[in-house]
């Protein structure tokens, strides 16, 4: 019979090994980001010679230059505008549809819902070609409206799925009470159902916001004029034009990445939920 001390030592050794493993992976995750931030505070002269993670002097003016001369201020506001518009659109449109699919009985309900669900599972890798043609025909290419509508469509299916699943499980008593009080269907959806759906709405909001903020290919084919571009596409053009201005590029990357990281840390719970639930759809 081995002593308790043996088992305790063994357990401590095992846990230490596991921690070492997890910590080294964590460092691998974080290092490129720290390196990005650190480089954004160096100068063009020192950026490839000063290999310290904490530079001797902090050149915060890089951020000012990137924001002003690099145009990142403009692109940042564009990204904010697109993200907010798309998310508001998705929340209203998908929650209305999901509510109807969950609560009302009408001809075509089953077919319509399954079309939305099937669309989630069929990959169409070349669809942006047809979207480009379509937007040209509608004269919506190179316009914010065209981009916003396309992006609303991208988030629609998953959001409807998440919301309908929630509404299906939500008790109906409050809505019944509101109906007896003479509240209209629209009124019940807006005043009763939506406030009750706040937990799942948070998932829908955060998930779609990340998606729009990070979107690249549609923005690439839709926007020709630089003043309309969101950050992701602008970064690419910036790199093409200012290939030598590495500190500004790093500042631009930080401006693009930091909001996402902050939102993620604050809204962790909802993102994790969205990932695990979203994956279970398939």
């Amino acid at each position: 019979m081995k002593s308790t001390a043996y088992y305790t030592t063994k357990k401590i050794a095992l846990n230490t090994l596991i921690h070492l493993f997890l910590i080294s992976v964590s460092i691998t995750c974080l290092f490129p980001l720290f390196w990005m931030i650190s480089s954004s505070l160096k100068t063009q002269e020192t950026i490839f010679t000063d290999m310290s993670l904490f530079p001797h002097e902090f050149h915060f003016e890089n951020y000012y230059l990137a924001w002003q001369e690099g145009g990142f201020g403009r692109y940042f506001l564009n990204s904010i505008f697109y993200t907010v518009s798309v998310v508001v659109g998705i929340v209203i449109i998908s929650s209305m549809a999901a509510y109807a699919f969950s609560r009302f009985r009408f001809p075509g309900r089953g077919i319509l819902f399954s079309v939305f669900m099937v669309a989630m599972m069929i990959p169409i890798p070349g669809s942006f070609v047809a979207l480009y043609v379509l937007l040209n025909k509608l004269h919506l290419r190179n316009t914010p409206v065209g981009y916003i509508l396309c992006m609303i469509n991208v988030g629609l299916s998953t959001s409807i799925f998440l919301l309908k699943t929630f509404f299906d499980k939500m008790p109906k008593e409050l809505e019944d009470a509101a109906r007896i009080d003479g509240c209209s269907k629209m009124g019940i959806w807006w005043h009763v159902a939506l406030p009750l759906a706040k937990p799942v709405l948070a998932v829908v909001v955060v998930f779609n916001a990340l998606n729009v903020w990070n979107e690249y290919v549609l923005a690439l084919i839709i926007f020709d004029s630089k003043p309309l571009m969101p950050l992701q596409v602008a970064l690419q053009t910036f790199q093409g034009e200012f290939i030598t201005k590495y500190p500004l590029l790093m500042a631009g990357l930080t401006i693009t990445a930091l909001p996402i990281i902050i939102v993620y840390i604050l809204m962790q719970k909802y993102i994790v939920k969205g990932v695990t639930q979203g994956a279970l759809v398939g």
């Binding site: 549809a97 699919f101 990959p123 890798p125 693009t256 695990t276």
Partner: protein, 294 residues
Amino acid sequence: MKIKDTLENYVFVLPAVLIFTIFYIVPFLWVFQLSRFEWDGIMPTKVFVGMSNFIEIVTQDKSWWQAMWNAGYITIIALTLQNIFAFLLAMACDREIRLKNYYRLIFFIPPVLSEIVVGMVWRYVINDIDGANMINRMLSAIGLSGWTQHWLYDPKTALTTVALVHCWKGFGWGFLIFLAGLQTIPRELYEAARVDGANAWHSFKNITVPLMIPVTVLVAILTVLGTMQAFVLIIGLVGGEVGGYTSVPVLRILASMRGSSRFGYACAQGLTFGVVLMAISFIQYQFSRKFRQT
């Protein structure tokens, strides 16, 4: 009254159905239609060419199949390396261990970043400027200066480097799903097995593995779909196809559309690729069902 009621129901789904029809179903059908035309995207006239776009893809388009092979190569690395790694991390975090939540928080940072940001940051970390390439510096520091490479610009290593950065970005996502899966396994099963004298390896083999098969299949299918279609990371990392060494199918489609202005051909490529993806997912699904029955 009845009619008004029904109409009101349709008002609820109308905006969603409208947007979905215009921006999903119409383009979807157009892909099928356009794929049989030769068209530059601007001219009002399209030339009907039947199936010849597809025949060209299958019989003549070497660069397309090169791209397909490249994507397959990245996918195999992601399926094995990235997912095994994700599983190990999930196992490590699925126990009473301190700082668990912080690890989880950190591992999911790469997946929430955009592919462009990840690509450009890594491009900077492993740049080609002498003495500033972090990977080469580390290799030299541990005495492996013979291993230093022009990671991104040498055709021999470019694709593998792309695949590894892809794994860096993606493993946190697999980790999260695996962890969620592991946490659904009731603790009592492990307790009971231990009482019956099973060691850690036995419980892993006889409890964890069988119960994790559905989750693993799910992660595998999503990894294949996601990795085969990945391309934005490559734009961020090396700027594009680099003479075909880092070319993948979606980059080819983009090149057919924007580079050579062959919209019909681009649609045909998209369709071919879509069919391949569906076939792979279907095979994986069937395979997993068979595996579960035996």
